[in-house]
Amino acid sequence: MHPAVECEGLSKTYRVGFLGRKVKALLPIDFQVNPGEVFGLIGPNGAGKSTTIKVLLNLVMPTTGKARLFGKDVHDPRSRESLGYVPEAPVPYEHLSGLEYLQLQAGLAGLTAADAKGEVTRVLDRVDMTRHAKLRIRQYSKGMTQRVMLAGALIGKPKLVILDEPTSGLDPLGRRLVRDLILELRRDGAAVLFCTHIMSDVEMLCDRVALLIGGSIHKCGPISELVADTRTHEVVVDHATKEQVLALLKPDDVARLEVVAQRVLFHVADTRLQDVLKALLNGGLTVTRIQSERIPLEETFMAALRTSNQPGGLE
């Protein structure tokens, strides 16, 4: 079975201004998204997330490399036969009603009139927009517009859904709907590729993540791998003093040390945990608790940004 998305050595250089100055938006990148997988593209503004998505949708021509959807080159319209897409801050045809817009999308997806009718009813119901379907889109709020866009992306039960900042500007109910839809799509075996600045969404939804910085992939893998090298543990030693603990350990091993009611609490890096425990136990101290503390993805993101000197773009 072909991966839903494949990028090999994909790069993009734009020419801007009168003199055609070159701007590298994307350095060669490689990644793939498999069916049934939720893949997150994260990175600061200008990192190349939207350019990657535009190349995949054939909206932008790559300078080098190949991009394929379900094994078909993105230049081939058939590669988009089972694709749903929601752009960032969409401005759809405002003169159409939500219903007419979805009928248009169903027609473009190649559904027959009978199939289109059933499909439009299904997706309207799924995003809870049946009541407002006959209103013109220009009368919709931002959240309602986003719901209709999501409904459009769901038409024809796509095997790949690409979402560019799908929860941006939505109220908690809208965000919940988007999250539920993503999980539902994964359950049905569809692949979801989405980019966002909201790290909690990424942690909650993604199987794998690619961290893009300055047009190249800084890190790529499952969330657990991405945060593993920054994991720390909180260690609690009972009936001991700060001096006793420090006498047994190297100063670099201990961070954020506190003393609370005859208990010494401190943080130790994952890589040093075993050595620290041995030293404490051999020194006759009692370790009563070890609490693994996963540093949020946001910290990993910020740390990566600091090392690359790129401006941040977190919400």
């Binding site: 932008v60 058939r78 988009r80 694709l83 752009p87 009928q103 999308q105 027609g107 473009l108």
Partner: protein, 254 residues
């Protein structure tokens, strides 16, 4: 084919809901009101005024509308990023261009039909004798709209709306006088004459599609003349649309 149909329908809906209905209503009122005024002011016969003035106003309005709709269409799609929602479907860019062009032509044809109905009512009301050059003039206007819209789509596929409008209007004006270029070429020196002659053959000749003078003078238009105008329009339009699809094929939508 189905995709082409739904996209053309969406374009037609947009035009109808945005401006076309208003334009038809305004045109009808202006035409009826002004013809009566002009009739009282002119020394020409009633028949000529009704025919010439009606066709002239219709031509001016429709040509302006064709240029306006075609040069702005692609840029509006790109600015509002609606093109993202269409091209991300299994649809080639060439199909997108053709569908949009068809949408413009459906709108213009409907509008021309509505205006022709008002014009026919006026002819009937003032008891002007019917002549075959009258429908030929309306058919010729449709041919001009076909070509102008194709030119608008072509230029807007590679430039902004203002540049595209300047190019289309420029070509339209030159296209009205290409026959004169041939006449001038004979009187000029060998080099400038050759340039003028080349211009005659290279530029679209809009005069071939303009049967208004014959209609105003009550002269007949032969089938051969009409087919010649139609062929010129269709041939040039095809060239411009193929050119537009080739240009649009490699364009980046940033």
């Amino acid at each position: 084919m189905k995709q082409l149909g739904v996209l053309a329908l969406a374009g037609f809906r947009e035009a109808i809901r945005n401006r076309v209905t208003v334009v038809v209503a305004v045109f009808a009122l202006v035409l009826i009101a002004l013809t009566t005024v002009v009739m009282n002011l002119t020394v020409f016969s009633l028949d000529r005024v009704v025919t010439d003035f009606g066709l002239g106003v219709m031509s001016l309005l429709m040509i302006s509308l064709a240029i306006f709709m075609s040069v702005g269409m692609l840029n509006r799609e790109l600015e509002r990023r609606t093109v993202f929602l269409i091209v991300s479907r299994p649809l080639s860019r060439s199909k997108f261009i053709v569908a949009r062009y068809v949408g413009i032509m459906v709108t213009l044809t409907m509008l021309l039909a509505a205006m022709s109905a008002v014009y026919a009512t006026q002819i009937w009301f003032f008891d002007v004798p019917l002549h075959n050059s009258m429908p030929a003039a309306i058919g010729g206007l449709w041919c001009q709209l076909l070509l102008l819209s194709a030119m608008g789509v072509f230029f807007s596929s590679m430039s902004g709306p203002i540049t595209a409008a300047i190019c289309v209007v420029g070509l339209y004006l030159v296209g009205q006088w290409t026959a004169d270029l041939h006449v001038i070429a004979v009187k000029l020196g060998p080099v400038t004459g050759a340039i003028a002659r080349a211009g005659y053959y290279v530029l679209p000749n809009f005069a071939r599609m303009d049967f208004k003078p014959q209609a105003a003078a009550g002269m007949s238009v032969t089938l051969g003349e009409f087919v010649d105008g139609l062929g010129t329009s269709v041939g040039w339009s095809l060239l411009f649309i193929v050119g537009a699809t080739l240009l649009f094929q490699r364009r980046d939508f940033k």
